[in-house]
Symmetry: C2
Subunit: 153 residues, 2 copies
């Protein structure tokens, strides 16, 4: 075998697929999808964020994010003014019910992630996180804009 690079791409896809599956399973009792959880999580971290910024932070288009936000609005987990005070961006924020739902979800998500990282040493986890971060950096074209993506997980 000449190069091992292909293995990394496949294992990356495999790990993310499996993690997504387990997280969806864990969140199912709460009637939350993984994307919705990501949205709520980012909303707690950055209250008043716009839908477009939410979309960038959760790796979906702003169109998809607005559909998702509408569902969360209908369920009373998120609130957003009908009109912006200044500019076009409509600042979204969690409601009290949204905070409660996120708290419940966070426990389940943390449990899955802890399971995923069990059996690894602290330095192993650091190496993994740094390796993945290096991949992201290498795949980014515009480094300037990328700096806006603050880790919120």
């Amino acid at each position: 075998m000449v190069n091992y690079q292909p293995q990394v791409g496949y294992v990356l896809k495999q790990a993310q697929s499996l993690l997504r599956l387990r997280l969806e399973e864990a969140l199912k009792p709460l009637e939350l999808t993984l994307s919705q959880y990501s949205c709520l999580h980012l909303l707690r971290r950055e209250p008043g964020i716009s839908a477009a910024a939410l979309a960038r932070g959760t790796f979906v288009t702003r169109q998809s994010m607005n559909v998702m936000l509408q569902a969360l609005l209908d369920r009373g987990l998120v609130e957003r003014p009908a009109r912006a005070e200044s500019g076009r961006a409509l600042p979204a924020a969690l409601t009290a019910a949204g905070v409660d739902a996120l708290d419940s979800a966070q426990t389940l998500v943390d449990s899955v992630e802890t399971r995923m990282l069990s059996g690894m040493t602290e330095s192993d986890r650091d190496a993994l996180a740094r390796g993945l971060a290096a991949c992201v950096e290498a795949l980014e074209v515009t480094v300037t804009h990328a700096a806006g993506g603050q880790g919120f997980w």
Copy 2:
């Protein structure tokens, strides 16, 4: 900050999203989806494989795989008998055109992966691959069945 675990999950999602994006961009000139490439790749590695097995190896359902296979059949990249000689499984295989398309795609995919892993040492790449493999193992419930998923990337 108490625990770093959440960071790993987020960066994992970020890396996979970005890799997927770059691969889709790279494959676009060939009119191939990343899922279609994965399908062709696995078909070369395991000729005569069933659609259900293809689905497991590419992390989609067998229903989705059959739709994808139909498209590849229509384009003449894959061939599959109308009836099985024994059992229900219909063995699929690449056509000559399919091999050509895969060869072209492989070059593009390898280039993206090489870019992703650039700037990392050999031991960094090994650590990354081993860390991801450990995550997969920890998230699997049935280890016996999982052994069927041979890396084919």
